[in-house]
Amino acid sequence: MPFKSVALYPCNPATTRGQSTKLSSSKDKIVYTNGRTVIIRDLKNPTSVIANAGHVRDATVARISLTGYYCASADAVGNVRVWDIVGEDQVLKAEYKVLSGKVNDLEWDGESKRIIAVGDGREKFGHAFMMETGSSTGEIMGHSKVINAVSIRHQRPFRAATASDDSTIIFHQGVPFKFDKSIKTHTKFVQDVRYALSGDHFASVGSDAKVFLYDGKNGDTIGEFTDNPHTGTVYGVSWSPDSKSLVTSSADRTVKLWDVETKKNITTYTLGTSGLDSQQVGNTWTGGDDIVSIAMNGDLNIFDKRVGDKPSRILHAPSKAITSALPTGTSTFLTGSSDGRILSFNSPEDGYDEVKGTGHATFIVGLKSNATSSGKVYSTAYDDKVKEIDLNGNSFVQASCPTSSQPNSIAVSSDDTVFLTEANGSIEAIKSNQKLFESKLKFNPTSVAAAPTSNIVIVGGEDQKVRLNEWDGKTLKEVGVLQGNKGTVSALAFSPDGKYLAAGDSSGKILLFDVNERKLVTSRWSFHSAKITSLAFSSNSKFCASGSLDTHVYIWNVDSPVKNIGIKNAVPGGVNEVFWLGDGKVVGAGADACARVWEVSF
C-alpha cells in the first residue's frame, strides 16, 4: 500500500449545554465521545490513541469493561456496540438496539458480563442485558423521565442505582435487576450517580447543587456534603481508586474534592473567571490517580490531588469540527474549529496549545499565511472579522479589521494583502488592518487564492468559472477566465512554484490549470463524488492532495495525471482540510475534530 496511517491527534469530548458529559477511565486510559467517534487515550502515553467510528449516529457514552478487553459505546438512537480494544482492528463483538431514544449512560457489572444502558425511550428508560447474548437480566423501572446516569455495585450482591430528570434515584437489587426503592433526596434533576470501587457507598449529584452519600448495600441515605457546598448544578461525580475521596464537577466553575469519612471539603479548584466556557460538565478519576474534569469548551483539566490550587496540566484540543487548518512547520500546525477556537499543535507529546488573546466568536472560515511565511497568519470567521495571529508569541494581535459581510474564503498574497470573498457577492482586500479595496462582483464568489510568486489573484464562483485577476496594490483587474468546472468552485490551490492552479468544485471534480499559459492541463482528477473542500500542493509542486465531503482523501501526481493514491474513508463525516506536514506526510481533518496523519510514498 502506498500510504500508511502514522498518527492520530485526538479531539476532546463534545459537550452540550445543560447536560453532563460522561467521561470514564480504565487504568490510565480515559474514554469519551465526539460526534460518531469514540476516543480512548492514555494520559501517561500521549501517542497511544484509539479512535473508533463505528456508530452510524452520534455516540454519547463509552466505557471500558473491568477486565479491560472490551469497550461498550452507545449512541443517540439507542444502539449499544461492544468492541474489542486489545487487537488492532477493534472487532465488533456485539451490537444491540436497547432503547428507542438517546442513551445517556451505560455501565458494566463487576464481572464484565452484564451492561445496563439508560437514557430516553418511549416505553422504557433503561435496559439491563448480557453482553454476550443481549438477553435481558432484569428490569430498570420506576422513573417517569429520562435517566441521566447508572452505576452498578461491582461486588455481589449486585446493586444498581439510576439517576433521573424526575429528581429521584432508584435503587435496584440484582441479579436479575429489579426495583427495590425510590430515593428522594434531590429536589431537581439528578445528573450523576457513582458507586465506589469498594462497593460500600455510592454518591449522587444534581442540579440542586447538592451531593449525597448512600450506603452501597441497602441504599440508605447516609448524609449530604454540606461543608462549603457547590453553588451551581453539579454535573459529575467520581470516586478515588481507594474509595476514600470523591471529586465533583460543577457549573459554578469549581471542582471539589471531598473526604468521604468526615464529609469535609478537602480542596476546591476554581477554573476561569466567568462565562460558560469554564463550567465543569463531567469528570473521572483514573486508576493512575489523575483527576480529569471537562470544561464546557472541551478542555480537559487534569488535577493532582496533592496540588491544591490549579490543574497540573490542561489538555487542549478541538472539540467541534475542524473547519480550517494551516501547517506552520514540519510538525506543527494551527486548527480552527466551528466553535470559533483556534489552537496550535506543537508536537505529538505536548499536543495542542491555546492561541492567546481575544479570538473569534464563532465558525472559523479560514486560516492563511503568506507563502513565504513571514510568521504572520490571518484568520477570518463568521463573526465578520479578520484577525492576525503572531506565531512566535502564539497569540492574536490586538487589532482586527471588520469585513462588510460574512466571509466565505480567504487568501494572502506575497505582499501580505488579505483577500476575502464574501456572502454578499463582493471581494475585499485588506492590508495591515486597513481596507484597500472592495468591489461588488457580477457573480457570487465562493473561493479565492493568491499566487505565491506573482500578483495574480484567482476567484472562483458559483457560475462554475475561475477568474484570473491582477492586483496592482490598489485595484483588482480581471485578465482572464478559466473554464471547465462542473459545479460551484469550492476550493482553489496554487502550487508553491506558482505554475499550476488546482480548482475543485461542488460536483467533486478537480481541474489542473497552467496559470502562465492559461490552459487546462488535465481534468482526469475526477475520483471524488462530493464537494471538494480543500486542496494542497506538496512543497516540490509535484503532488496535490485533495479532501472532500465524501470522506476520502486523494493524492494526485502532477507529472502523470493518470496516477493517484486514494485514502478511502479518511475522515468520518467529511474532510474539511488537507495539508502537507513536511514532505511525504499528509494530514486530514474534518467533521470529527481529530487530525489524522498519513505517510504517502509514490
Binding site: K486, T522, S523, R524, W525, F527, S560, V562
Partner: protein
Amino acid sequence: MASGVGVSPECLEAFQDLKLGHKFKYIIYNLKSDNTEIIVQKKGDVSSSYDDFLADLPEDDIRWAVYDFEFEKDGGKRNKLVFVSWAPDNAKIKKKMVAASSRDALRRALVGIAVEIQGTDYSEVAHESVYDKASRGN
C-alpha cells in the same frame, strides 16, 4: 435506436487478432470523421500497461475500447475481455448522442466480451473499478 453507423471490417479483424492471436493488449475504436463508420484508431502493444490505455482515452472526446484485462483471483490468473464505452462529461453533446446510438453496432459484432464498462469520468475506468467488476462472479 440505431444510428445507422456501420462497423468497418478492420474492427473485427483487430478484435480477432486480440482475442485469438493475443497480438495486442487493447484496441481503441473511434468514429470516422464523417460519422459514417466505426474504425480502429489504435492497437495497443502487448507490453503496454493499463495506464497507457487510460492515456489513450481523451478528456473531451468519445471512444470505444476492448481491453484484455488480466487479474489474479483465488491464486489463479484470469483474463477477461473488457468492453469500454468512453463518453466523458466534457465531450460534445452530438458526439455523445452518436456514441450512445452507435455503441450497439460495435458491441454486437464482438463476441466473447465478459465485462462491459460505461465510463463518464476517470474514476469509472480506473483499474480498481474495472477489477471490481471483472472479479465479480466466476
